[in-house]
Symmetry: D2
Subunit: 108 residues, 4 copies
């Protein structure tokens, strides 16, 4: 990864973690929480791994590619779940997840 | 903290994090998820800080007492919420939280 | 905390975590690593708690103030250690740590 | 993964994270820290991912296999580095890392 790619990936991971955590918080406040259970679960998984990888990249981890590969899969799964729901926070989260999945695949 | 106290605290934090994560997973599968929203939220908060502190103690962090003080508060809040619900996973989690809150207070 | 304060704190925590992780990585590459041992240790502690709190704030944690109070102490300790060393990465890290300590104190 | 395998993997990850964090702390206290720089770095990487995966498994993450695969690689790299050093904490850490790498490979 070039320094420029690395900077962009860190920023994209940061935005995805934030979108997932916002979506998680908003899902827990929805009227129909039952329908959002899988979204809540995947939001947490995705926020946690994005935050982990972002953090690992800033300390120059030797495992950036390996972690990016698994992060891409988790982002994609979360994006697919979020895409199913009409809430604005879910749609925004899906956008952030798919953008991040692509950035991770390039880095992997 | 003596070495013995430290070992016990690490084990208690570990069990609390595990109980909270089990409760979180089980709450997301309950019929009435809406009623469990606050429990889900606090389970995550509590599991995350207990896991953080456990990990920090094993690396001999200089901030064990400070982190234990805030961990005690989060354990107590999570225990209080779990105690309200009749599910076995909530009651077990409440027990683990209150035990961990006490261990953290002693270490703080 | 107002929404604006919250946004600023998240950004400040993010920059501090990044500065600490850069400093940690750079310290491990220095000729005189022995002299940097305490800096390496505190960089990790500080990066980890800042990243933790940043992440917790984006999910709307109910424990923002309590966590900010302990984060302020850790930032201050790391800033004090970094300030002792002439390396540019240490001085930049000290700046980020003291800025973050102040932001955390206001939020606490 | 059977429930039994899952329990064993959680315990093995826990022990590996602990061994890595002990080794990290002990390496920072060694006379010749420079020689331990790569060990310090890999100890942190390995402790962090083991702790992450352990925590993720207790919340029944849907990504256990994918995370176990990357965890196995990190454990192996850390074990190989630790094996090079005669300190007791390094040799114990190498043992824990290789045991954990194997457990992760079976789960992946």
């Amino acid at each position: 990864m070039s320094h420029e790619q690395n900077r962009n990936l860190i920023q994209t991971l940061h935005e995805c973690a934030e979108a997932c955590n916002h979506c998680y918080d908003a899902c827990l406040k929805e009227e129909n929480v039952k329908m959002m259970a899988e979204c809540i679960r995947l939001d947490r998984e995705c926020a946690d791994i994005c935050s982990y990888l972002e953090h690992a990249l800033t300390r120059n981890t030797p495992f950036g590619s390996e972690l990016a590969a698994v992060c891409a899969e988790i982002c994609e799964a979360c994006g697919n779940e979020c895409r199913k729901h009409d809430h604005e926070h879910c749609q925004k989260c899906a956008d952030a997840c798919f953008k991040c999945a692509n950035a991770c695949k390039e880095a992997a």
